[in-house]
Subunit: 124 residues, 2 copies
């Protein structure tokens, strides 16, 4: 995930939903990895984060949204299992859809800039 290859197109999209909640690529990746790994610790490790950091991000997500997006099987901060709630799945899906929709929307301008960059570099 921390590949150094640049992504052409939208490389960072942060959407502020309410005064207390935003979602960006890092938070979305964390939710996705929690869903896949069934554990906050494993998801964080995948992303090169300490458990403490991953856990505090999950808390920020849950508190900011005003309802849990991630639920732990032991309910506390113990390193037990974790999964996305229905709400967490919807937030993640909506974010992925926003990335797709925004990428499509910027397509014409992106291609125009790429053409300009190519021609101008060649003219030098």
């Amino acid at each position: 995930m921390t590949s150094k290859q640049p992504t052409i197109g939208i490389s960072h999209l942060r959407v502020t939903v309410t005064e207390d909640f935003y979602i960006g690529p890092g938070r979305a990746d964390l939710l996705e990895r929690i869903a896949a790994a069934g554990s906050i610790a494993a998801a964080g490790k995948d992303m090169g984060m300490s458990y403490k950091r991953a856990w505090s991000l999950v808390q920020a997500l849950n508190e900011g949204f005003g309802a849990p997006l991630v639920e732990t099987s032991r309910g506390g901060s113990a390193q037990g299992g974790a999964e996305l709630t229905v709400l967490g799945c919807e937030v993640l899906e909506r974010y992925r859809h926003m990335q797709t929709a925004a990428s499509a929307a910027i397509g014409p301008d992106l291609r125009a800039l790429q053409e300009l960059a190519r021609h101008k570099s060649r003219d030098k």
Copy 2:
């Protein structure tokens, strides 16, 4: 510009145009301020940046794109006047248009998430 009030909607959009060039909100603001102020020093100061930092950002923009987006009246790093080239104006306009187009494209998902956040917070 460094207001602490959160912007609802897209609060950060970075677009990677080529392997060597991306544009995001900070770079776009810098271009806009250079156009307005006619000076890299004044534009940087507006954004709380040292002249050195603003100048190095301008260099990164010019070199990354492969052609100048900003031209200084003395041609060097002296603290003289500066303006956007025709190319710089086009890059800035295209970026602003991408922000508008992407914001429109995410509208339905954003509103759905805002509704969810409002209802769920109330249910607690």
